[in-house]
């Protein structure tokens, strides 16, 4: 059931991310719904579930954009691993944690993807003001959307499906 919930959320998340409007003042960044799913799994689930969610989310994000397949999966796995590595030192259910992690992780995702695109020559030129706006957009988008996604995922796990396992040591 956990996998079904994650698959359902990844599909819905990618649809929402595709149709959501963007703003110039937020650097034309999209709401990080798929990243929110990965962060939830990193904080609340086993490592294998988190990595599966990261790979699936990355696959959908790459397939629905012009990013080469695998780039987003790698970025999501890296970010998810970092969060999962340090989650015992965090208040995993506190909204401040979600806001902070969402903001920082979205900025990290943005520039990791840009670095990959730059290395393979598929990047688009970016000047300093545009870069600053992208950072602002990533910060604001990550800080607002990730807590919301976390709440929805937790609701799905506890009320809809029945919470199976919080996490276990691997």
């Amino acid at each position: 059931m956990t996998i079904m919930v994650i698959c359902f959320m990844v599909v819905m998340g990618s649809v929402v991310q595709a149709v959501a409007p963007t703003s110039f003042w937020l650097g034309e960044t999209k709401p990080p719904v798929l990243l929110g799913i990965v962060i939830y799994c990193a904080l609340m689930r086993e490592r294998s579930v988190m990595l599966s969610a990261a790979c699936l989310s990355g696959l959908f994000q790459d397939a629905l954009s012009m990013i080469p397949l695998g780039y987003s999966s790698f970025c999501f796995c890296s970010i998810g691993w970092c969060i999962e590595r340090w989650k015992d030192h965090l208040y995993t259910l506190h909204v401040v944690t979600h806001v902070f992690l969402g903001a920082v992780a979205h900025i990290a995702l943005l520039w990791m993807l840009y670095a990959f695109l730059y290395m393979t020559g598929r990047h688009m030129p970016l000047n300093v003001p545009e870069g600053i706006l992208k950072n602002v957009g990533a910060f604001v988008g990550g800080g607002t959307i990730v807590p919301l996604v976390f709440y929805i995922m937790r609701y799905m796990d506890t009320k809809v499906v029945g919470f199976v396992k919080e996490r276990r040591w691997i």
Binding site: V19, T29, C55, F60, L64, S65, M66, L69, C77, M124
Partner: protein, 274 residues
């Protein structure tokens, strides 16, 4: 016994390495499969959000509906007269072509399509349409609205296609300034703070008298965009930093921020002369 977490990392590493090194055709097939699977859901969500937007606009727009109706009615009359005059010109054109022994004329067919999604990453200016190969769509076909050109198809799957918009920096269009027959190339500059789409036209002959308000149309060179499709109007003209040619800022005629229904231009036969 091997630590389970090591196994997880090994499997993950192998999967990622495999995915990152997939052949281009396999990558395209996987992307197409995901897009085909998700496109019905995207259509439903886009239609629902459009309906909600229109419903919210209705109370505010009630007062203007009568005026809009009158304006549209007079526009219909004017367009009907124009169509009648153009039919006469077309008939005359066909007669002259027959006399000059032109065998075939380029015929363009329009495939209507609906925009169902935008780029999910936010890095590119693209939209997804609900028509694909099964409807006759191919790569590198011009996409227009009733106002003008909006972009070209770049990635076509069985039932959907992606369109690279004029506002994207990677979209280049060979164009011509109608009044003075000045050629150039247009490329996108993204969106400004007030969501105005900005286009740059480069390589205009420095001796040509380009003016603000000049109409810019596709030149037909480059093989993607048919000749004569309206792109936009000149906003302002500057000299390139090198001094070798002129540059112009172009305002596109079509509204690239609000794209619902578009047309994909397919050409039928090429012109031949004996």
């Amino acid at each position: 016994m091997r630590d389970p977490s090591t196994r997880v990392w090994i499997v993950l590493g192998v999967v990622l390495l495999g995915v990152l090194n997939l052949p281009a055709s396999t990558e395209r097939s996987i992307k197409a499969a995901v897009r085909e699977g998700i496109s019905p859901l995207q259509s439903v969500v886009t239609s629902a959000s459009r309906t909600i937007r229109e419903t919210l606009k209705t109370p505010r727009g009630l007062g203007g509906i009568t005026l809009e109706n009158r304006r549209l009615a007079s526009e219909v009359i004017a367009l009907r007269n124009e169509v009648w005059a153009l039919r006469e010109l077309e008939r005359e054109n066909m007669e002259l072509r027959n006399q000059l022994a032109f065998l075939k004329k380029v015929r363009y067919e329009l495939i209507p399509a609906e925009a169902i999604a935008r780029d999910v990453s936010g890095w590119w200016q693209t939209i997804r349409l609900n028509k694909g190969r099964s409807h006759g769509v191919e790569t590198n076909q011009a996409v227009i609205t009733t106002d003008g050109v909006i972009g070209k198809t770049i990635d076509v799957s069985f039932r959907t296609c992606d369109v690279l918009l004029l506002s994207d920096v990677d979209c280049k269009v060979a164009v011509r300034i109608n009044r003075i027959n000045g050629f150039g190339v247009i490329s996108g500059r993204g969106l400004s703070w007030n969501r105005r789409v900005e286009l740059n036209m480069d390589f205009i002959n420095k001796n040509l008298p380009v003016r603000s308000g000049d109409e810019v149309v596709t030149s037909g060179l480059g093989g993607v965009f048919p000749k004569g499709l309206v792109v936009g109007y000149v906003d302002k003209v500057t000299r390139a930093p090198s001094g070798l040619y002129q540059q112009a800022h172009i305002i596109p005629k079509a509204d690239l921020n609000d794209l619902s229904y578009v047309f994909i231009v397919t050409s039928d036969a090429l012109e031949k002369k004996t």
